[in-house]
Symmetry: C2
Subunit: 319 residues, 2 copies
């Protein structure tokens, strides 16, 4: 469950003392925040605490994460000469603190550790828009109107993401998740032409490491067919798409991850239990990693999340 | 093309002098704003200028539209006793200025006039959240956790929407569009249980008027099968779903409306022309109303929109 920490008082206590980027940059703190939901919830894997803009900062891009706003890029990338001044991430030393956190975590954890990165499109959108965006207008304008600048940007980002994920595995990450958070704003044909080749490049470059890879983005129902053919091992599914329908859109044998609507964790238990069971049934019992279909909402009761984990663990595949 | 006005200097000049609600409430101004894109763009129909919160204000709910924020409801509806204090809209006199604008428009227009309303779920979300919302968390919490309050709210809203749309037709509207702007945040099974019956009620209540009805919401790819069975005549399609794929999800003979990505209007003309032609081809030439797959982006060049209308008019169905 991504962002499970946001619902925990022990995480909020740390957030009162440190910024998100401070939590990411101090290995002992990143370790503590990664462990918090694992301790509380009884989940079967840990996901590294970090932020998807961390490798951008590592590349020397000046940015902040403003509370209630999200990432703010000091000098948004809007022109080809700005793109050509970008350099590829060198994980060590650029983000050595992430690698250090992973090494420490492997000593602490009894469940597998999932590393992650934002996908090239999503990182490009932050860089071009200067932060979060409603319509990703400037991003699409560059993608469609200045393909040379776009390709150069995607080249440096996909190389950086690949090196970043490889370094995470070398430090000890046992699985990887690639989040294309904003790619659901792209129509399928545009995705195929301007985004998919760069995602493929990342997954192709990871194959020799032989760690399982998961690919996910929200509002990606129409992109599942394409995203599932980028080389990822597991397809994460947004809560909007029933898992049995998702399976019809992707290769038959591909495992799926998901996809309970996070808002259901705020509903009465009997509603939550009914809908979680529906997700398990549609998942079909095999090749299914149960998860929420998006991040945990901050107002969620951690006790409910723990009960949900128990429900999933005690569920039996119907014979 | 919805919200085409936002791209027009003559609209922005009015926006400098009046608030959106003032433009909605003064019939001569609402008429002028409705006519502006029709004059410029050569479109085949006009869509009434108004705001979807107008009937809420007519019901006596205190609200503002804040620039850059959207609607702000003074006292959000969070408890059952607040719901029971709501009254059903009486279009005349509650929103008589809308009806007056429609009457004036019919005298001016040489193309058909489309009236519209927000659908019950979307209006409920504004009332419960107190404005726009990222996750519609409180709305879902009421829908799933307090079904009695939810049903009572949907009852008063669907009755109000129905009376509002009927009054628009009686005033002269020649077609109707029902926007469920935020319903794409609801999973299909939840939609079927808690939203669909109320939408059906609206369309059922309009049938005897024999005006064509269009139903639309963004991010509704997974809901198309359900939304197309609510009684609407035409299914509006978000730009994310290729129209040929949309047709596979809805009844075969149902006309579709859409669905060029509005961001493409900011791309070079050859890209826009290629993608618009792709939409026309996927639409199949019959039973297709060409439109954008969401509102016009404010930064759009009106000259490009006019050229797009010309492209659509000159397109020939391949034999």
């Amino acid at each position: 469950m991504r962002q499970a920490g946001r619902s925990l008082p022990e995480y909020r206590a740390l957030k009162d003392r440190y910024t998100i980027l401070e939590l990411c940059r101090q290995p002992d703190l990143a370790v503590e925040v990664t462990l918090q939901p694992v301790r509380r919830l009884g989940v079967d894997a840990a996901i590294l605490f970090s932020d998807i803009v961390v490798p951008l900062q590592g590349m020397g891009i000046s940015l902040e994460i403003e509370a209630g706003v999200g990432p703010v890029i000091e000098h948004p990338i809007r022109a080809e000469d700005q793109v050509s001044s970008l350099r590829v991430l060198q994980p060590d030393p650029d983000v050595d603190y992430v690698l250090e956190a992973i090494k420490l975590l492997r000593k602490e954890l009894r469940v597998p550790l999932i590393g992650f990165a934002g996908a090239p499109f999503t990182l490009a959108s932050y860089l071009i828009e200067g932060g979060s965006s409603k319509n990703h207008t400037r991003t699409k304008a560059m993608m469609l109107g200045e393909p040379r600048a776009w390709d150069a940007l995607m080249e440096v980002l996909s190389q950086s993401v690949l090196l970043y994920l490889r370094a995470q595995v070398e430090a000890g990450a046992q699985a990887l998740q690639l989040f294309d958070s904003w790619v659901g704003h792209v129509a399928p044909a545009t995705y195929e032409r301007h985004v998919m080749p760069w995602v493929k490049k990342v997954f192709d470059g990871l194959r020799d490491l032989q760690v399982p890879t998961i690919h996910f983005g929200i509002v990606t129902g129409e992109l599942l067919a394409h995203m599932s053919r980028t080389g990822a091992d597991v397809m994460g599914v947004d809560w909007r798409v029933p898992l049995d329908e998702a399976r019809r859109r992707i290769p038959q044998a591909m495992p799926v991850q998901g996809n309970l609507d996070p808002a259901l964790c705020l509903a009465p238990w009997e509603v939550l239990a009914r809908e979680a069971t529906d997700v398990l049934e549609r998942g079909g019992g095999r090749g299914h990693i149960f998860n929420l279909g998006h991040g945990v909402l901050p107002e969620t009761d951690p006790g409910v999340l723990a009960a949900l984990v128990e429900l999933v663990h005690s569920w039996k595949v119907p014979v």
